[in-house]
Amino acid sequence: MQAIAYASDKCIDSQLLVSNLIALFEQRRLNLNRLLSGTGIFTQDLNEQHKISPIQLSKLIDNAQKIWQGGDLAFLLGQHWLPNQSGLMTNGLLCSRDLAQLQAHWLKHHWLSQPWLQGWRWQTESKQHLLLALDIGAHKQDRFFLELTLSSLVSTYKRLRHESWQGEFSLPYPEPKNIEQYHKYLGFQLTFKQPLCVISYELAMTKKNFDMANPHGYKLASRQALRGLMAAEYKVGLPGAIRSHLIRHDSQQLSLPDISERLGISSATLKRRLKEYHTSFQQLQDEAKLHRALYMLAINGESNLAVAQQLKFADSNNFRRSFKRWTGQLPSQFRDWLSQVHS
């Protein structure tokens, strides 16, 4: 587990979000000083290979949300994501053959473009699903980052395919106040209070060709992106790294001391580092277990007992109780979760 970004490591390219945010605020004639106060970001620094830390990003978004009125900040940023980003990642997106390739490209190289989230791909009989969880994005700003990424996805699709997005979104929070923005930018197939954030679409949709498909360009961009990734100082955030590791080794019952040993730091330090990200080991552990449980239930159709055994619960009752605590519902209700998200 190398190249992990802690909350104060400067791992985020300013060109990604900071410049766009500042440009947007300038155009709307909003107070830039208030936007940047307390973030340690200065407009004159933004021209070079400038990077900021997750803590700085969190403060910036916090300020932005306080100043911006209208509840559509993340959506506007997402709408103008593709054209505003030049660079390794987006060239690949623009040249993708179809949604399947675009998604694969994004998942592989998302750290270069949207490091606040991490993603997984699941597949059911007739649908593809993209799951998203926060990596270095602050937990208290989860809605912002999800809104940003989801609207960037929808607008990228619209741009490449010249037709409306037809997927479904499951969101891990209750219906928000700015629901009309969701209707406008993400469409109407939304379900809230879901255990994980999932983007679901028909398999047929993934094979529809994009208008600007360019296989040669894609190969080139892919290679460039890979090189960029290898050259990057950091490749994943601490929450993302731990969550992935826990998910991969779900049957091993890894504890905080185990992980801190792998990272080469003390348990106390790890606790502190996680706190800087406003999360805790317990929370990441629960999230990883939930992730695995949902996979086994919804994708593999396994029984509660099998899940309980795999995740090292004392018995299936224990598992059921924990599951209810995490999601407010029983595991049996999720067996058809992804094939029936929208009834």
Binding site: R28, D72, K158, S164, N178, Q181, K184, F188
Partner: protein, 292 residues
Amino acid sequence: MKRSLAAKILLASILVCTALISLCLLQAQTKTLADIDWLDISTEGALLLLGISWLTLVIQARPGGRVTQVLLIGLLGYCLGCYMDLLDEFFINTSLPLWFNLLEKIPTPIGLITLTYGLCLWREEQVTINQQLRTREQFYRQHKLVDQVTQIYTASAMRHQLALSIKQVNCLALVMIDLDNFTEVNRRYGFIQGDQILTNVAQLIATQLRSQDLVCRYAGDRFIVMMPMCSANLATTIAAELKSKIASLGYHASSAYLYWERPNDSDADSLIAEINQQMENVKQTRHWPKAV
């Protein structure tokens, strides 16, 4: 209000106050510290401060014009009266000159009467403004629900008005207008231009409606119009009219409409959900131009 006028008022007030206090110091005797009634001073002082704060608020918020002038004269008179009352507390009563005693009681009642007259004028003004804003407000003013870009209300206000209308009328229609490919406009010409276009479209829609209708900005480039006591036919006609007027501005729009009648038991939220769904359907079936 114009800064120069505010500055003039400030200067004049300072001159008058200084003149009064100097004349009193010259012609009358000040009380000894023991005789000064501090309770009286604090109450009179508080009244004066309040009067000054009202004056400041009116100067800052009101546009120039006759109504504002009358209101200001009234408030100035009141403040002058308070000031003289306050001054009174510092001097021995019997030593005050005759003109002071005569003058003291005049400003406050005159000021308050003028203020009352000003408020009557303000009432007339407000009724006119309410009429001007009808299709943008429908007599419900919640300035926190105003959209900063287009200056019309947001979806929350529409939800409120819709819920109200469902109780009051027997039938209504909802029309939703969504500008096509507006992201391209924002991308090509920038947000400032995009915002201006949205504002223009908002104004256009507002002027095309009947006085009992209401237009709000739903989200982004999507607008929602509520038309109480309106038949389904009229709704489709108006929707088509709006689309063609917007087209004459140079922007293509999609529209969806919904008709509701009394025995139908829906609430505001479900009606809004339904029209959004309709809009979705319209958008899905629309063919986009390939060349951008």
